[in-house]
Symmetry: C2
Subunit: 705 residues, 2 copies
């Protein structure tokens, strides 16, 4: 639930009773003038005070030289003065008792150097007075709800009110969003351009909008994550209540370089973000266009209960294209019931095609559309309907749109349209019929939003799962890690790494460390034949590349010989000083190689990895990532997402291997790296999964602290 | 070059001096009336004769009861009469000496049954009189070139003239295309809705447009391929002259089921089409939206010479999004030269970001855009420029658009815009400035068209390559195949399959067939130890699943034992009658397993396959397909496209395997299956590639005839 304090504080910004515009200008075209005009033109329900030491009035309103001269209380101030004056006017705001600030002015952290210092001072001042701040370096805010109607931004004049709360980390994009949403008839409950996020972050806004009754959909344009772990928790919670949709730019390396230079925030690697968003139930859009399409659908449609789509069109080509798109987005083509089929057949001409996609052919009228759509929506085998229309000579798009609007009002399943019609239709129709279904220009957009609505349904009903806590020997691990850190950190000795895993309940191979030939007899007896001999130095990373692994040693004679050979190879490679220890390990049962791993991200915390293991991990790249906290459901879904999952389940007559062991080990790994943030990096590769649970073994592991 | 006869014949349809509209109607809204109106409103440069037995005049024009009553010569007739009358009026057209027909009427092959018969008769009649035919069951045609201006379709009234020749297999889609191209300001040299393609096909039209001076881009919307092999040859040739862009719908299985029921044409599998289009240099678009975006770019821009893109914007967010999109479409971010950098720095404020993407920040004016764009276009490190604009308060999109148009006129590199502006800009600008650059609404569209233009450049300069012909023993293969076919076809005996490969120069393992224990001594000596024993029956497909392969047999004792064991296993499985032959094969050197294969498609001919081989082929699905004729370049590119290519090149210190052997074998395979269409299916799996050319071996093969 939204924190009550946060709500009160942000209400001062988004629902103020009075607003001061500090830096309001007399010059047309200046931001200080356009922003004031936006407030007035949008008919803010409250008082506005322009502040400008040089003007007596601005846009017919009395201007005050300083905020301290304003005779009334001021809840919120918008600051548009040159950067040099920001700290002073903000100080005055504090003295005046202003509760919230929106600082448009730029010249702070984003320019580096003295800008960083200026931002730090700004934060000090607002903390001193208990004010909250949006910005600096932002485009402003908007509240669309009728009792408020505050447009305090320098974006285009007349954004539509509605039920979408939008946060943008880019000002330029905010302007674009205002233009684009108007074309699509998407309206805002709130909009905020957050700029440098010196105080109020995207996370704060998400929480503020969590229980807001005016907000149906929360949309975020992000260039960086400030607090990804806070985001994870919040997004998981809020996604269950209302859809949260995110565009995270800087997806590619070059893009994130641009993102870094732009906002001064270190962009986190995209894989981590992808993993995080997947676990939170957030809808990720790749582009703004996709995001707006999905927002339109989410605000116009009920959430579907399944993924079975019926397609209804008046032309074969568009029907095929819609089908292609649905299938490629993972939707299912609904199997229409026989009863529905019979009833449809009575309505459409014989030339029509009644195998979903349903092509009523070009003679279909508004009445045909209306009757067929009703039948499809009433069919229990149909979860949603895509209605396509290509205007032939005598049928007008508007008539069809009105007909399907009337039908969809009577059903609680999503109806999504694509009309390949003239632009004028799109200009007029949504304005005329506010509760119309979402209608797109192309079949692919319609299919895409259906797929995303379904995915949101899946995320919403997905069980939360639980973060399992296994009984482990924490002290043993702490001791090993402490010793290594005292010795300067780096990779653990192989034998210690195995001990760490053992303490956390991983099934590790039986093993013994040896240095010299005379230790082989006892060690061999202890481990048992057949066995494996490996180099065990901390330095050697890819042992098999330099012949540091000998498999399937049958007896002591072979073992002695293998060690002699290995030492000779080391000497030849000039590595005898680096490797003075060797590991004797039981031979594992045949099975499938998997990898488990972790890499500690400074921002995201431990990134967990599971995938197809073995020598070619880097080439195959068949891995799935996850973040902590990791539930049992998360772990299971990660394992099921790797391409090699089919191999684990058994193909070509092979028995399945014990996948549960892998899922459990992934959770044990999550517990280990959550308990010990000293661990920087881990690779368990390979772990060998066998058909029998008892035979699964971790064969090799590296741990860096 | 366009066939002269074809040109003459199609000129009668697309550039007639006189047109009869048979079935012209007095009823407003009827197709026969709307089509006539379209001809007149579009101001056709020629004579039009409405034909209607019941009307004296239609739309102020004298009507004739029958075409034979028309006093003048008639080059082309559009037929819109009910299906029952089509054959009769077409017969009359023949008598009259009409040269070309466009039959709009439906009720032919697409409805099955008597429709098929009607279509066959229709073809008979036109052949009798030497007429050519577009349709039946189509939406009509359009010629946009000024000397003709013939709009003989029932689509929306006023399609723009221009330089795109468009063929649509769907009428409904044609209507959509007319609406959409108008919004985007794309104009037509020709448009044809081909319907059932009873006579004139997409291939004919492509050839007709090949050397047409009015046509800059050829665009095809296909639901099925009539003659894919003719298409391949034509498309390869024409792609070198002008871009050919294709949307093939029915990509997914469900989509192609819909395609089949729609046009009655058996849709070919999408993988084959993908392979075919790749080898022809045709641009494939997934959606109509993508296709139109690319057409706009191709008609407005020169083809780029490389893939280094500079991005120029006035906002960080859009810059990042454009960068993400460029990189994910495979473009390179240009490294601006130091000189350009210095000059840019002198123009933009200090807050601007000059590491490509270049963000001039919101203060950028038309002049800033103009100067910076000039500098980027003049930089030798830049192949094309994407210009992004998000309108801040005081800068108008129109001014920026005019400025960049003026600059791009002076350079021969592509300039592509994305303006996140209000809709009115898009309505007005392209009409005002006909030679404007293509400007999109979103950064992703701009990046996408740049990527496709670059891909077209690559296809255009790609060497043709040659289809190699190896010296082979054709007779030997013919004999083996004939014998098998005489025996009822099916799989070849393993030993025969090996002989086939040997005759075509594949490096096959040394092998001997044995049946009984007493043959083992000689066979073992002949092949040499170590060796492999395999079941060799025609029935056994996945030998390793039932223990039918024993590897690494060291001597005769082991070999005897292995055969005894194998026979016992067969007896246990009740298979002893089916397998009476065994293969003794030399043990191959260690290496990487690859697969080569072929499957004969009734329409596409032999589909060749190469990929990562071994036991898990079906699970890994790492294969690439190709069609014949296969050039050396095609073969090389196929091999380089498989994911496992990196493994073949050697990773983790392993030496590369001899990839040339694989490329050559792929070409030998192409020759084999081109020589022998008896071969239905082939799997060479695994072939083992070793670092040394001499050690590469085909280990197993199956051939079905």
């Amino acid at each position: 639930m939204t924190d009550a304090n946060l709500k009160k504080e942000l209400d001062y910004i988004f629902k103020p009773r009075s607003v001061a515009v500090i830096g309001a200008s007399t010059k047309r075209g200046a931001i200080g003038r356009e922003l004031l005009r936006n407030i007035i033109d949008y008919e803010f329900n409250g008082k506005v005070f322009p502040i400008n030491p040089k003007a007596e009035y601005i846009q017919s309103m009395k201007a005050y030289p300083s905020i301290t001269d304003v005779p009334d209380d001021v809840d919120m101030a918008v600051v548009i003065v040159p950067k040099e004056h920001v700290l002073q006017v903000v100080e005055e705001c504090g003295q005046k008792g202003v509760k919230g600030l929106v600082v448009i002015s730029a010249g702070f952290r984003e320019v580096g150097g003295e800008g960083v210092e200026r931002e730090n001072k700004l934060v000090e001042i607002i903390q001193k007075y208990g004010m909250r701040l949006i910005g600096p370096n932002c485009m402003g805010i908007l509240t669309g709800i009728p009792e408020v109607r505050l447009h305090a931004s320098f974006g285009p004049a007349d954004p539509l009110p509605g039920s979408t709360a939008f946060m943008s980390q880019s000002g330029a994009l905010g302007i674009a969003i205002f233009n684009l949403t108007k074309q699509l008839n998407i309206g805002f409950s709130y909009f905020a351009s957050v700029g440098n996020k010196a105080d109020i972050s995207g996370n704060d806004l998400m929480e503020y909008w969590e229980d807001d009754e005016h907000t149906q959909v929360i949309a975020l344009y992000l260039e960086s994550f400030g607090e990804p772990r806070v985001f994870t928790g919040l997004a998981k919670r809020i996604s269950k209540k209302k859809p949260v949709i995110v565009v995270k730019s800087g997806r590619t390396e070059a893009g994130s370089r641009a993102a870094s230079s732009h906002t001064g925030a270190l962009a986190a690697p995209d894989v981590a973000i992808e993993a995080l968003l997947k676990q939170t139930g957030v809808i990720r859009a790749t582009t703004i266009e996709e995001m707006l399409d999905v927002i339109l659908a989410l605000t116009k449609c009920p959430i579907p209960n399944g993924n079975r789509v019926a397609i209804l069109t008046n032309g074969g080509g568009p029907a095929i294209m819609a089908t292609d798109a649905c299938v490629s987005f993972g939707l299912k083509m609904a199997q229409i019931s026989v009863e529905t089929w019979d009833k449809l057949a009575a309505i459409v001409p014989a030339e029509a095609s009644l195998v979903n996609p349903i092509d009523m052919i070009a003679s279909a009228t508004a009445d045909t559309y209306s009757k067929c759509l009703s039948l499809l929506l009433a069919d229990d085998n149909v979860d949603m309907v895509i209605v396509g229309f290509t205007p032939p000579v005598m049928v007008k798009p508007m008539d069809i749109a009105l007909a399907i609007t009337e039908v969809k009002r009577r059903y609680s399943k999503p109806v999504v349209g694509f009309f390949m019609a003239e632009e004028t239709f799109f200009d007029e129709f949504p304005k005329m019929v506010p509760d119309c279904p979402p209608i797109y220009r192309f079949p692919e957009a319609a299919a895409h939003v259906c797929a995303e609505m379904y995915r949101y349904h899946v995320a919403k009903v997905r069980p939360e799962g639980e973060v399992r806590t296994f009984e482990v020997d924490k002290d043993a691990v702490q001791k090993i890690l402490d010793e290594r850190i005292k010795a300067g950190g780096g990779y653990l000795e192989q034998v210690d790494a195995f001990k760490v895993l053992k303490a956390y309940g991983f099934p590790v191979c039986k093993a013994q460390v040896v240095r010299e030939l005379d230790e082989l007899h006892d060690a061999g007896e202890e481990v048992g034949y057949p066995l494996v001999l490996k180099m065990a130095g901390r330095q050697i990373i890819h042992k098999s590349d330099i012949g540091g692994v000998v498999l399937d040693i049958q007896d002591e004679k072979e073992l002695v010989w293998a060690l002699v050979e290995m030492k000779r190879k080391l000497a030849e490679a000039g590595l005898e000083d680096k490797v003075d220890k060797f590991l004797i390990q039981e031979m594992s049962q045949p099975g499938k190689e998997v990898i488990l791993g972790m890499s500690l991200d400074p921002k995201f915390g431990p990134l967990l990895l599971v995938g197809t293991g073995g020598k070619y991990v880097e080439v195959l790249k068949d891995v799935e990532l996850g973040v902590t906290p990791l539930t049992d459901i998360d772990a299971k879904e990660m394992v099921q997402s790797i391409r090699g999952y089919a191999l684990l389940k058994g193909v070509r007559g092979e028995p399945p291997v014990c996948i549960d062991v892998l899922i459990e080990c992934l959770q044990r790994l999550a517990q280990l790296v959550t308990d010990f943030h000293e661990i920087q990096e881990m690779d368990i590769n390979p772990m060998i999964l066998s058909p029998s649970k008892e035979d699964c073994r971790v064969v090799d592991v590296r741990i860096r602290v």
